[in-house]
């Protein structure tokens, strides 16, 4: 018998222990491969350098990092179970080198098999993923192809991962202490220690992180709070501090606070000594201590998954709404006054719209650009403004000779803190004209980004202005049937191009909408992809641990059942423990997500709370299914050993 045969015999004969590790490797490889098939599809690959390529490439990188972590954690759990075996081998005189080689050989055998099986399964599913992708990108059908590049990439990466893992194993199994290895999974039954200070720190850190996430919304409630909010906002790397505080808080939550709570429960005698409570609480303390790091990772992974999915879901469902707000008019053409072809180009646009049978309403405005006191200001007159707002069904404005109205240039404006919009007075012509600001327009009236620092003034005041840097004529078209203007826009682009500097430029709602729609749907696709595998991965970690602990549990339950624990009671004890392991991370991750969404909210136009609830609901159902199937497998296994 050589070492290779020994390794082979181990893998062949100890399937129960190796199977979980093998299956999770297969799953990871399958996900990675399926995505690589999308990435390397000839049609996708031909669009080099676009957003699509960036999104897909980054997703693949994220999957790769996750794969590495996932395989590392799987192998960790798998090697821990076998520590006693390694102890015996070392005692019998196996050198570290030989042990490393043994683990390496085993790993490579499992790894190679997992790569073959994972890629084969991936090939089966890849057509499905391609179909979904082609419907999202509104491309011609993405046909099936033989993905040799994806196969090479997957094989290469995973061989590297398995090699890397093999190199890390000496750190995983504490190879230096044979005595510790021999004790193996028999854990010393010393009292578990926890620190009250660190337990409180867990809550404080979580609280601080949550507060920072909310701080943007707390502005303006009272003066003292405002100062704190501004202080937080001016912190360098505020996102990093926020994330770190929540991550560390979560870690302490599981390593310290959870044990602290269980200790308090233990202290409550009437609860603790009631029926089976004593069993599951005392057991859970050890279980959480042993699994704290994993529960922490599961929580963080779940929070990332929930946030990613909610984010992309919210983004994709508000695309149309955002397009409407970004472009209040379906088409806006703006010409410099010096442009000789202005009338001709307007004609082209209108003829084209008429030729395709579109109804439209035109609004025309004149805007002056002026540099006054080294600041660029755009100015329009009240009558032009009122014509625009009436087309947009907004309230008309009335301005006196010394009064001015400010117009936001972006949809997401905050009059309280936006310096441009919070000015009290405006001076034009280097101080020759001084105006008092009487208000801010409720909306963007051209399109997002056009004419920053826009001021509306009374017609008489407008006529007095002398400093004119530039003058524009802007024609905006309201087209009720704008969703069908894609073809017209393409034809117009053929004739007019994107515009000419110093001459004219134009923008349409449909183009922004189409690009955003495609990107966001793609985001949704990869978001769900990532979310699903992160979440499934997180669940698998839990299942893995339960699975590897089964042997120890078995002897415990046999013992208690002999003392007279009924099957129902045993089921209750086991269910309680599994439920805590499955749902505490879920609840904590949901809370994290709620606050993360609040940060996200600040860059979105509309509320995403409903999407948040939908996503959480969907994951809750997944989690319950996961929990029920794990529990039933677990209990069925224990059932065999229970004394009837």
């Amino acid at each position: 018998m050589t070492l290779t045969q020994f390794a082979f015999n181990n893998v062949r004969r100890n399937t129960r222990v190796y199977l979980a590790y093998f299956l999770s490797s297969v799953f990871t490889i399958m996900v990675f491969f399926s995505f690589a098939v999308n990435l390397f599809h000839p049609v996708i690959a031909s669009r080099k350098g676009g957003t699509i390529e960036i999104i897909m490439g980054q997703t693949e990188a994220a999957i790769l990092v996750f794969s590495f972590l996932f395989v590392l954690i799987s192998v960790n759990a798998f090697l821990k179970v076998r520590s006693k075996e390694f102890g015996i081998l070392m005692l019998l005189g196996m050198t570290k080198e030989q042990l490393r080689r043994l683990v390496f050989l085993e790993n490579m055998m499992i790894g190679c098999l997992a790569i073959i099986v994972g890629i084969s399964l991936g090939l089966v599913f890849s057509k499905l993923f391609l179909m979904i992708l082609s419907s999202i990108l509104v491309y011609e059908d993405l046909s099936f192809y033989f993905p040799y590049k994806a196969i090479l990439l997957t094989t290469g990466f995973f061989i590297l991962i398995f090699l890397g893992i093999s190199a890390l194993t000496p750190f995983i199994i504490r190879i230096n202490s044979i005595i510790e290895l021999l004790q193996g999974s028999k854990r010393p039954n010393r009292e578990i220690e926890f620190s009250a200070v660190q337990s409180i720190a867990a809550l404080l850190l979580l609280g601080a992180g949550y507060f920072m996430a909310l701080s943007f919304q707390l502005y303006g409630i009272n003066h003292f709070l405002d100062r704190i909010v501004l202080l937080i906002e001016n912190l360098p790397y505020v996102e990093v501090i926020l994330t770190a505080s929540v991550v560390i808080g979560t870690y302490l939550f599981f390593t310290q606070f959870s044990i602290f709570i269980l200790h308090r429960l233990k202290g409550n005698k009437s609860f603790y000594l009631h029926k089976t409570n004593m069993l599951w609480i005392s057991d859970l303390i050890y279980r959480i201590r042993d699994n704290a790091r994993m529960l922490f990772l599961v929580t963080i992974l779940s929070a990332v998954a929930f946030t990613a999915v909610t984010g992309v879901y919210a983004l994709s469902s508000v695309v149309k709404d955002e397009a409407l707000q970004d472009n209040p008019f379906a088409l806006t053409y703006t010409s410099y006054c010096s442009n000789k072809n202005e009338q001709q180009q307007v004609r082209i646009i209108e003829d084209m719209l008429e030729a395709h049978g579109f109804n439209y309403a035109r609004v025309q405005s004149e805007v002056i650009k002026q540099v006054s006191n080294h600041r660029t200001i755009h100015i329009m007159k009240l009558s032009d403004y009122n014509r625009r707002v009436s087309a947009l069904e907004l309230e008309q404005a009335v301005l006196g000779e010394d009064q001015a109205l400010l117009v936001p240039v972006y949809v997401r404006f905050d009059p309280k803190r936006d310096k441009t919009l919070s000015q009290q007075s405006i001076s034009l012509d280097n101080g020759a004209i001084n105006l008092e600001v009487v208000g801010v327009a409720p909306k963007v009236i051209f399109y997002s980004g056009l004419f920053p620092n826009l001021v509306v003034v009374n017609n008489e005041t407008y006529d007095k202005i002398t400093g004119i840097q530039e003058k524009y004529h802007s024609y905006s078209y309201d087209i009720p049937d704008w969703l069908n203007t894609r073809e017209v826009t393409e034809k117009l682009r053929d004739q007019l191009g994107v515009g000419e500097h110093g001459q004219y430029f134009w923008s349409t709602r449909i183009e922004g909408y189409t690009v955003e729609n495609q990107n966001k749907k793609l985001f949704l696709y990869v978001g769900f992809f990532l979310g699903a595998i992160f979440f499934l991965g997180a669940g698998s970690f839990l299942y893995f641990r339960l699975y590897t602990d089964l042997n120890q549990e078995k002897s415990k339950y046999i013992g208690i059942s002999k003392l007279g624990l009924s099957f129902r009671e045993m089921k209750k004890v086991a269910s309680m423990q599994i439920a805590v392991l499955f749902f505490v991370p879920y609840v904590l991750a949901s809370i994290h997500t709620y606050f993360a969404i609040n940060v996200l909210q600040t860059v979105l136009y509309s509320s995403v709370f409903q999407q948040f609830l939908t996503v959480l609901g969907a994951f809750l159902i997944l989690n319950i299914i996961y929990y029920l199937s794990v529990r039933s497998r677990y209990i069925n296994y224990l059932k065999q050993f229970i004394v009837p």
Binding site: M1, L91, G93, T95, I179
Partner: protein, 256 residues
Amino acid sequence: MEILRLKHVSKIYGTKVQYTALNDISLSIEKGEFVGIMGPSGSGKTTLLNVISTIDPPTSGEVLIDGENPYKSDSSKLALFRRRKLGFVFQDFNLIDTLTIGENIMLPLTLDGHKVSVMEEKLKDVAARLDIENILTKRTFEVSGGQAQRTAIARAVIHSPLLLLADEPTGNLDSKAAKDVMELFESINRDTGVTTVMVTHDPKSASYCRRVIFIKDGQFFNEIHRGDSRQKFYQQIIDVLALLGGEANDLDTIRL
């Protein structure tokens, strides 16, 4: 010839709360001896055996096996040392579940890279001696406790070690199996001359030894030699145990 020598060996565990498991123990074991180590629970028997086993370095003092101090070697030399010069038998057998009985026995030779023909030859010899030839292809969970312990003994002696170390080898066996195992130890010691050191709390098992060393609270307490009669030796052991303060029939198997 002296095979094993302990010079003023002490072992202290813990950093904040210190616990002295062994306190200045010195002893010497000659080639071919069959020595038992006894003492009440928590007296340091197992720690002493671990220190001799080269897996638990002493806090102070020196361990010499065949004239050399194994703790001075680096870890891979130490592994080679254990592989070639030591044999181990445990209370809970410690067989590898994924291997067959025969493969388990051959393991020390496999690790050392012996020729297959040599390994099979030795396996045949040792299996015949221990009467386990007919279970060589079975797996560990298919054999009885007595058979498992005989497998473990076969694995411990197949490479003709210098020193055979046994930790409560009869602790998990019924009295018939325990008797068989002890007779095996005795006959292997007599026929091959392998120096054997065994930790036990069972006076009956200890009575197979030629010499029994008693320790208490990590310190040397007493030693007695066996004369011609095993029965008489057994009685002497019981007497010393009574003197030690532990009950004569100490049923406690919890060890530290």
